[in-house]
Every structure is written in C-alpha cells, then in structure tokens.
Assembly symmetry: C2
Homo-oligomer: 398 residues x 2
C-alpha cells in the first residue's frame, strides 16, 4: 500500500486488552516531533464524553505534540471519574516522552458508553505505544488500526500535493461504522499535515471540510457522544506561511480527502450492503438542502427499500415532505440511479424490474432529488438498513 507520511510525525498502535477480543490494537499514539497547530471539530450532542470536553477546551492551539486514542471504551457518561481519566491519559503520554507537557496532548476515546476506563490497561498501552513510535508506513497503519471498533477495515487516506514550489503532505485516518449521525464530525478522524498553518487557519480549514464531508454522512443518524475530528499541522514541509492561493488549493485537497474518508464510514456501515448518495438540489439554501437530505437518509423505509432493491420512490418523496423545508410540489423531481421516477409533481411510468436491478447490481445507489429551483445543494452519504444491522445492534453489549 502506497502511503505518503507527512514529515515530522511518528505513530504507534498497540494492544492493551481494553477490547474484549484479545490481541486487537486498541491504543494509538500520534506524535509530532515539533509543536504543531491543532484544530478540532466536535459532536453537537449535549451529552459529551470526557475526552471531548478536554479537547474542546484546548483547541485551536499552537503547541500540540500528541494525540492519544483508545478504542473499546468511550469514556462517556462517566462523570467526574471520566474527566480525571481523560486528563490522566494526557499525563501518561507526556510522562513517557521527553520535552512534552500534559497540556500539549489531545485525547480521543471510542467504544462502549457508560463504563469507566480500565486505567491500568490504558497505562500499559500508552507506555508500550510510546516505546514503539515510528515514522514508517507500518507505524501509521498500526495507529489507524488501533482506533477501530466495529469497523470492517481501516479507513485511511494520504496524498502529496505541490503548492507552488513546495511539496505538502497530508494523511488522515478515521473510524466509524455505527452511531453515525450527521451533526459535525461523526466518529473519530485525525488529519495530519506538514503544511505551515496558523491555528486560526487550521480551525477554519477543518470546520469547512467537516461541513462538506463528515457532517454529511450517517448510518442510523444517532449522533454519538464522542465525535471528534482533529487536524494537526507541524510546518515540517518548511517555507513561509501558505499564500492565499496556496491556502485555497490546500483547502480543496483537504475537503476531497475528508469526503473520501467520510464516505468510507457509511460504506462500512454496520451490516451495510449499499452506499447511498443523496443529492438534493433546487433548495432555497444549503441548510434546507441538508435538512431534506438528512430526513431521506434517516428514513428506515427508504433505507430498507434500497436493501431490498425496491425502487419505492414514494418513501423518498414523502421523507422530503416532512423535513420542514419549503418544497414546490410542482417542481419536485426524483431520479434513482439515473432513472427518472417522478417529475414536476407527477408519477412517471418506468420499468420496475429495470429500476430494481439497477439497485441490486450496484453497491452505490444515487438518489437525485430536486425540490425547487433555488441554488441550495447538498450531498449526503448513508448506508442501507439491513437485517444484519439489526441483528448486530441487538447483540452489542450483552
């Protein structure tokens, strides 16, 4: 696998037996060799996990050195003990590394809600991770594996881009397959770059990228307590701050990489057999388009129809109708995998078998919905609702 590792970072992923399954990586450490700027975007759930509270209080920042992540336990709904544990994780990292302060460390947790962290295991894991740090591809992959929970596979992206005379490198990793609802940054995601960015620049770039990527994905629409997306930029590509046009180009790269990573989550949604892209156009504004896309994506009726290869378009149109967004029925049109099913408020005749086969034959299903003639547009990605999803989620903790 061809991975571009940004300059000046080291990685580790180790098994600390926090997860029930033995010998599965569950503690990851990402370290910048020099102070980096760091920006964050977080869950909008009011019930937030302890690591979110901690990170939110620290970002944006210009002295970030490390991100420590454990999987298998979300450290959410854990009260004051949870706050102490999150803080302790940062201290364990800084204590095991030279020249690092606890305040330079960010922390993420993911896994089951409402259990206290097994801090003895976490401590051993952090120590082991700090001793196996590496700037190699293997190190990066180990870290990307250590953040997974119910994911079927790792979710990574990397690229090298030429900005003027400078080669900038960007790499990212994400996790998520369930409890995925589009309200920010669903799940965990770390993007690392060696670009020289200021912390306000990093924050704005990240917020914008989250808005077109992780904010537009869902599995079942349940916003988690732990969603966190962090961007670190350590400037090790060298040179002067990015010019305005270089920044714009960087933003484009960042957005397309975030979309690429974000789509991997519903594509790997628990039990998913289809990645559904919902394109809403003609809304009065982007927010309205987003609401309609979210309602369609949240409809179990739409999602189970796609699972069954059923072009039951009435479910899609009716979901759009309860999104609390102005809709001009006479301008309402729908295509499914390019086949027109409903146009200008009237049903079209179409070959049900052909439409059904077009769903069955493709992992990707594209729903295009026009709701008026405004400029608002949104692309949302979700998974289908399958028998396997229900089976899996009825057996999670017990």
């Amino acid at each position: 696998m061809d991975i571009t590792i940004p300059r000046g970072y080291q990685f580790a992923g180790v098994s600390a037996n926090i997860k029930a399954r033995p010998n599965t990586k569950d503690v990851s450490l990402l370290v910048s060799n020099v102070p980096a700027v760091a920006a964050g975007v977080y869950t909008q759930n009011q019930v937030v996990a302890a690591p979110v509270v901690l990170c939110r209080s620290r970002t944006p920042m210009s002295h970030a050195r490390a991100i420590v992540i454990n999987s298998g336990n979300a450290n959410a709904c854990t009260g004051a003990q949870g706050d102490r544990d999150a803080n302790n994780m940062c201290e364990l990292v800084s204590g095991s590394m030279p020249d690092m302060e606890s305040a330079d460390v960010l922390v993420m947790s993911t896994g089951v809600i409402g259990k206290f962290l097994p801090m003895d295991k976490v401590e051993k894991g952090i120590l082991a991770a700090s001793q196996t740090l590496s700037s190699s591809t293997d190190g990066f992959l180990a870290a990307a594996d250590g953040i997974l929970t119910t994911d079927a596979g790792r979710k990574i992206t990397s690229r090298s881009c030429q900005l003027g005379s400078r080669e900038i490198r960007i790499a990212g990793m994400a996790k998520g397959a369930g409890m995925i609802g589009p309200n920010m940054a669903t799940m965990l995601c770390c993007i690392l770059t060696d670009a020289p960015l200021t912390s306000p620049q990093a924050q704005q770039l990240l917020t914008t990228a989250a808005n077109v990527s992780f904010n537009n994905i869902s599995v079942e629409g349940h916003t988690s307590t732990n969603d966190t997306m962090l961007l670190m930029a350590n400037g090790q590509a060298g040179g002067a701050p990015l010019t305005e046009s270089e920044l714009a180009e960087f933003a484009e790269h960042l957005q397309s990489m975030c979309i690429e990573l974000a789509k991997k989550i519903p594509a790997d949604g628990e039990g998913a057999t289809h990645l559904i892209e919902i394109c809403v156009r003609g809304a009065n504004n982007e927010q309205d388009a987003r609401r309609v896309a979210k309602e369609v994506a949240s409809s179990n009726l739409v999602k189970s129809a796609i699972y069954g290869g059923d072009p039951n378009w009435g479910r899609i149109v009716s979901a759009a109708g309860y999104a609390n967004v102005p809709i001009t029925i006479s301008k309402l049109s729908l295509t499914l995998n390019g086949i027109a099913l409903f146009a200008a408020g009237e049903p079209l005749s179409f070959d049900t078998k052909v439409a059904s086969q077009a769903i069955r034959d493709n992992f990707n299903t594209v729903i295009e919905l026009t709701i008026g003639d405004g400029p608002g547009e949104c692309h949302h990605w979700t998974s289908d609702l399958t028998v396997e999803y229900v089976r899996f989620n009825s057996e999670y903790t017990t």
Copy 2:
C-alpha cells in the same frame, strides 16, 4: 366482542379487490343518518395525498354525512388526477345515498404511494358498501377491517359514558403499522360520537386529544402523506349542548380512548416484538419533553437494543443529548422497566442479566428519563426495530 355503537350511524366494509390479496376488505363507509359536525387533524408532511387536501378544505364542518375510506392505494403523489379521483369518491358516495351532497362526504385513502386509484374497482366497492350499511356490531367491524393495510389486526375502541343525566356513546377505529411518525395524527383514525357538539368544540377536542395520543406514537418516525384523524358528532344522544363540565369530562374520555387506539399502532408495528413507552420528565416544557422522547424513539440503536433485550442505556442517554433541548447532565437519570441505570449524571452498577431479562420477559418496555427539574413531561409509544421489520420493508412493492 362488546362494542358500543353510537346512535344514528351506519357502517359497511367490503372487498373491491384494490388490495392485491383477494377477498380482503378495502372499501369502508361510515354514515351518519343526520348531518353531523366533523373535525379533522392531518399530516404535517408537505407532500400530502389528494384525500387530505380535500378533507382539510372541508373541516371543521357542521353538515358531514359520510366518511369513505379505501385501503391498498394511498392516492398520494398522483397530481391532478389524484384530486379528481378523491372528489369522485365523494360524488360516488352521495350519488348512491338519498339526501346527501358530495360536499357532505369526507374521504381517506391508505396504501401504496404514487399509483393512480383503480376507479372502476373503487366505484363498485362504494356501491356495494352503500347497499350493505348497517348499525350493527358486524357492520362496525367490517368497516374497521376495510381500512387496514399491513396491520396484524383491527384497532377499535368504544365506550358509553354518563355525562350528567345523559348517556353518551363514543366509538373509534384506526389503522397503522408502518410509516408511523409523530407529527400529528399518524395514520387513519375515525372517532364517532352521538354527543351534541359544535364544530369548533369538536375541532378543539380532537386537536387536544391528537396531541397526547397519535402525535406521540411512532414506528420508524416516517411521517406519512395520508395521516388523517376525523371526529364526527351527530348529537343523536339528544339534549342540550354539553355544559362546560360535561365537555371537560367528554374530553377526558376522548383522550383516553385516543391513547388506547394510538398505542395499538406501535404495539402492532411492523415486525414489532416490544411496545416501548418513553416517559420524559423534568423538561422545561412539554415541547422539549416531546423532542427528547421523539429522538429516543427514533434511534435505531435504542430500538434494536430493546429487540435484543439489551439494557444498553448509553444509547438512550446519548439520543436525549442530541435532541436540541437543554439538558442538565447532573440531573440526568434513567430507569428501564423500573431498574435505575443512571442517576445524577453518573453510571450506577446494576445486574445486567436481571435488566436484560426484564426486557425479554415483557412485551411492554418502559423507559423513564428525567432530564432536569422542570415541569415538562411527555409519554411517547414506539415499537422496537427488528429483523422482521427490515425484511418486511425491503419487500413491500416489488
């Protein structure tokens, strides 16, 4: 079955082969022998079926004579043809009955979206129904059966109540098992009474009752295009208008009957193995409590956990957290079937096996969630999300 039929009504339910399954009742007719007041509450979906448009323009009214209902076809998303067909159904009813105007008739349709009504079959059905009208229990039951679609069984309620010196009778029928979302009046429901009510009284009574019953149920939260709830009152109990205290007593009866009917819908939710009652307390106001209850009820993670007998309370607390309602974490408490799982923002230790068994052993699951110390409270009823629900809804039209 002991059913109290209000005075001055006749009923019929016949098979017109609109539904695919042969010899299944699919046209129902409810007739008041004298002009009655009628009130309606309708879906808040912007994409509304033709019969909803028609009824909405007529209620509240004081000259209602009949409600005609077909199942098997929703007459939704059918454009101008759909409007003509709905109007035609009213004309077919008035044409087959003496002394009735088309404008005295209300109409409901339920079934698949986006297909034109087979008006030849509908016409034969209405004629047959008009010729078999009866004030007997059998007539009432036939009508209650004719409105069903994916329901496992009929949903009816009736009672006789003594208001002062007067005996007032009330009877109701409802249908619904899927596409059930709490935004009014989900599904179809007709309540008939012989009480003397004015049409503004009828409208206010119905709106209030809908708010504590049908507005607080869901199966998957998908608001349908056809939701309609009608109340007819023909005054055949005799006597003067109800006094204020009689009206209050009537309202209580109506509300408890609506709750009884409404609960039958998620209890019969497609594939359901549990009826889940979500009680939210301590909100700043009723609307906030309602939002939290709705988010919990809409969470596939919560619903599939109950299906699996899994007391995974983190899913419940986190769903409450993204309802956009102020929550005081330190006052957040949760019990599941009476077992305290989370209190004052801290996890409690409990016996997982006992909690799981309490879910498995009961069809009813009660989730009690306190989110603060305000006066706002709401009771919402929903079904669990099961493998059978997904299987069923992936095979609906094709």
